[in-house]
Amino acid sequence: MAERIPNNRVAYGKALVTVGETRPNVVVLEADLGKGTQTVLFRERFPERYFPVGIAEANMMGVAAGLATTGLVPFASTFCVFASMRAVEQFRNSIAYPRLNVKVVATNAGIEIGPDGATHQAIEDIAIMRAIPNVTVLVPSDPVMTMKLIPMVADSVGPVYVRIGRQDTPYIYDEDRLHLEFGKAVLAREGHDVTIIAIGNMVCRSLAAAELLEREGISARVLDMFSIKPLDTAAIVQAARETGCIVTAEDHNVLGGLGGAVAEVLSAEMPVPLVRVGVQDTFAESGDGEEVLRAYGLTAERIAAAARTAMARRNELKRIL
């Protein structure tokens, strides 16, 4: 067993190498951030299949599209801010619309990246990418999931956007017991009083919140909604039906991201109280990653508080109705 490094970027780099060993048609494009995204690991192993495009994300999307038309499976990597915003129209028109088999795996998601500040803190990418037809949007939460997900991405057909954080993240899952399917949420913890739906770096914090709640006798379910699109609407509706209230937790703007997506499902199919933990429609700032997360309310304590609020609203509704 190789050493376990608790970081999703490193897991991505390693998974790419694994994928490369058995899939000669996988190639990697990088816009001069390979040391950040960890595609350097692929570069070391398969230099002939690694195509730097320089600091030119728009061109990277087009080149990836062209490569895909020749039967290759290009993985294009850069930071989330650039993949989802600087080059989004290229992604939309050259890749998503013609359903080309390009895998955009972007790292340094959310405000947890810390010191680099708001210019590099992507808090809009999920909202943007999930609004584009034909695109699969995935957010792995731990290295085990990332290692499992990347080969699935390589074998899938069509455009995919994968969002990966920068900071180290604890292991959540057991490799043998984690079953992944696009469009199916992972039940990270069973519970019946409230459901916390989380993604990425907020899954471990949601599990910690569930521990806090348990001490108060509250049983919180935690759903890892790694597949933002296709979204597991059945799991959301079932959670609403069984627990009567929902909390979402994401390192992303609450507008249009996971919170937005869950709100759309609930309002259409099973309206129950929803509290969205996430970036409250504001740019964040520089600082140590953990400090920034705390300053903007992305903590286990805030998720637990949100759960209490959601439950109180549910109980209030019950009284009224």
Binding site: F51, M61, G62, V63, G66, T69, Q90, S94, Y97, P98
Partner: protein, 285 residues
Amino acid sequence: MNHHIQQLETIANELRCLALRAIYLAGSGHPGGSLSAAEIVTALYFSVLNVDPSRPDWPERDRVVLSKGHGCPILYAALAKRGYFPIEELWTLRKLGSRLQGHPDMRKTPGIDATTGSLGQGISVAVGMALGGKFQSKSYRVYAIMGCGEQQEGQVWEAAMSAAHYCLDNLVGIVDYNTLQIDGCNAEIMEIAPLTDKWRAFGWHVIQVDGHDIAALLDAFAGAKNTHGKPTAIIARTIKGKGVSFMEDQVKWHSSVVTKEHFEQAMAELGCDRIFDTELEATHG
């Protein structure tokens, strides 16, 4: 003048007729930039390209990326005349349910190699196709047709840099240099000259030609084929609206509506009536 060139000139004229009729029936579209590219498209599809209309997805085929996607009526006309789809289908251009979208769609139209229309993107896609060909030791060549206004897109130069970096001598970029864009002439909107110097500085072999001189275009494509280690840019000087007197060199014909009067005059100038009779007879057997 040799017979082959004469035949190609006749074809270019036919393609103008077909494209204009399609635009007229659509009620919208881009006549100016379709007409200016007639000889470029003709030279490619009726002389240069190694393609097989019965197998539009043939992996070894040469690729064409119409980076100036709005000029697609002339490309659709060439594809129809080459037999990728029936000539009559041209009359469905831009209509609901048609395979002929307002801008090229590789998933809908047989023979279209890349989805384009957003300027600056096609040349990047062409770079990827050429790179993929090199990587897989394929011998096909890739041709990207760009507009002159399109040269103002920064992505064009990102793509240009990358094509030279990867020594893509299987890639040819053609600039349909008609000097006009929607809002005016290049020089007053945003100067793109000196274009040959720019492409040369980006590491490309550059050939300047009269874009309406088919013999010169064929020479340029041959010159590109004989260029090794770097991509070739063909700067083709053209006239927007070429072939229809009142459209020539007129900014407004970038995308003006073609009325019945315009259409009839254009058809008369191009001698189109005869062409449609033969084309339709041929398609109906």
